[in-house]
């Protein structure tokens, strides 16, 4: 069974789907799940499963080890790509499992799980759609 960094981020793990909030009044979608709508302030949004594929909206590469609370991999830090992915209703920030040379705005990607830290837990990430 997969252990994830925070079960509240997901509606399901196999296949992985991210849990977001959709406002019952204005339809605004946010991630992760929140208690009220940031646009119109209405409390009590619905929890919804976000799209599991989209396109890279922007990206960068983390070339230096972040300070704690970042937990580097057991084998030591190596640079990693991060970005925002356009899932249609919302842009979600996450790791991009794409070689920097292949990264570009508009690149189609899909949601996956990837191990982080000492490898005992996983977080969500996006990889290039085959």
């Amino acid at each position: 069974m997969t252990t994830v960094v925070d079960p509240g981020l997901f509606t399901s793990l196999d296949p992985p789907r991210l849990a977001g909030s959709r406002c019952r009044s204005c339809g605004t979608v946010t991630f992760p799940v929140g208690g009220s709508c940031p646009r119109c302030t209405l409390p009590g949004p619905d929890t919804v499963a976000l799209a599991d594929a989209g396109t890279v909206w922007t990206w960068t590469v983390q070339t230096f080890p972040p300070k704690p609370p970042y937990v580097p991999p057991a084998g030591g830090f190596s640079p990693y790509a991060v970005g925002y992915v356009d899932l249609g209703d919302v842009l979600v920030e996450g790791h991009l499992l794409v070689e920097p040379g292949h990264l570009r705005i508009g690149l189609p990607v899909r949601l996956v799980l990837t191990p982080v830290g000492d490898g005992s837990r996983s977080t969500f990430a996006f990889e290039a759609t085959p």
Binding site: T60, P68, L91, E93
Partner: protein, 385 residues
């Protein structure tokens, strides 16, 4: 009532291994008082701000136990703007006659570390390496360049101008000019941002002496009028640091609101600005802020920079003291550093590169986590209105 700045003081920015945050603040206050030709005993209000480097009101034990009111503020990058607005409001309300505003910070080396809980985020966000401010600057910059057809050369031109201005400024931290080619060839910290396109945590203090109009003429040869100072937080739809998700069209920045409010209050338009200081925690931020504050159109930055129009001698002089790129970022001091530079420019006594042609309208802008902006419009007495 008109509020005027009649004295300014600042420490050198950079590293001060031998001095504490309060030491730096004391130095800046004493210089500002001397600049105004007044004394601490004459001050009936002080407003201070520091993000991490001590209690500003503890300065009374160094400057004198006169019993004055000394509120403190802590609003991240907007700390200086909030402190200045607080003092100005008290003077307008008749609760103070002569106020000191002081901002300082002493940050340690290396990138800022942030705690997810203090931003209302889960621990996962920090653990998985997403809570890094420079990532945000890089991602926002890449998208902005993409949407507005700007080149990475423009980013490098911002840095080259900042270091050129810093080299001429005796209080700046980075005093060596760098070419556009050197900036582009430097190590990519978070691409497209290289080492020289990002500012570093730094140390320094700035103080101002602020009075009402009737005292201003006694205390300064050329008092600078605080025509407006405004502070805004983000509305939904802005592209902010530490955001696990964003609106699909994140365009609404608090900088737009704060600048608009400041210009409206001042009764001036961005096109009337003769010298501007805008937040340049990274080169991309400056490009974005120039347009968000109304100083130029989105996409126009490429040509402005290539033509040298943001140099001290250009049509729109920007960050004439080298900005955050050349001075680093002591968070509590940066906003007041901008005001210090504008006041000196308008008075014709810049410490570094002086904008020629007797500038009369100045503008300052800061922006920071978690989505706060503060802007000020400053004018020389008798400025066109």
């Amino acid at each position: 009532m008109t509020v005027a700045i009649v004295g300014v003081g600042m420490t050198r920015f950079g590293r001060h291994d031998e001095l504490s945050g309060l030491d730096l603040a004391e130095q800046a206050v004493r210089e500002a008082l001397a600049d105004a030709g007044t004394a601490w005993s004459d001050v009936d209000l002080a407003v201070g701000g520091s993000n991490v480097s001590g209690k500003p009101d503890a300065l009374v034990s160094r400057l004198g136990l006169t019993g004055l009111a000394f509120p403190t503020v802590r609003n991240g990058c907007a700390t200086g703007g909030v402190a200045l607005a607080t003092a100005a409001d008290a003077i307008r309300a008749g609760r103070a006659r002569t106020a000191v505003v002081v901002g300082f910070d002493k940050h340690e080396r290396g990138a800022f570390a942030s705690d997810p809980a203090s931003y209302g985020l889960g621990a996962w966000y920090g653990e998985t390496g997403l809570m890094v401010t420079t990532q945000y600057f890089a991602m926002k910059t890449r998208r902005y360049l993409h949407e507005h057809g700007l080149s990475e050369e423009s980013l490098a031109r911002v840095s080259a101008r900042a270091f050129r201005n810093g080299a001429a400024h005796p209080r700046a931290w980075r005093r060596s000019p760098l070419s556009v080619e050197q900036v582009l060839a430097a190590a990519p910290v978070n691409p497209p941002l290289t080492q020289y396109m990002l500012c570093q945590p730094s140390q320094g203090a700035v103080a101002l002496v602020v009075t009402g109009e009737e005292r201003a003429a006694d205390l300064a040869e050329r008092p600078v009028r605080l025509a407006a100072v405004s502070v805004r937080t983000r509305r939904y739809g802005s592209f902010e640091v530490f955001s696990p998700s964003l609106d699909p069209v994140p365009r609404r920045s608090p900088s737009i609101d704060a600048a608009d409010s400041a210009f409206r209050t001042a009764g001036l338009s961005p096109s009337e600005v003769d010298v501007a200081q805008v937040q340049d925690t990274d080169s991309g931020s400056e490009l974005i802020h120039l347009a968000e504050t109304g100083l130029c159109a989105h996409g126009e930055q490429e040509k402005l920079l290539a033509d040298g129009q943001t140099d001290a001698e250009g049509a729109l002089p920007v960050n004439t003291d080298g900005g955050c790129l050349a001075n680093g970022e002591p968070i509590g001091a940066s906003g007041l550093r901008q005001v210090h530079e504008v006041v000196r420019q308008l008075q014709g006594r810049a410490l570094g590169r002086q904008v020629p042609g007797a500038p009369r309208v100045g503008f300052t802008h800061v922006y920071g986590a978690p989505g706060t902006s503060s802007c000020a419009v400053l004018t020389l007495e008798g400025a066109r209105s």
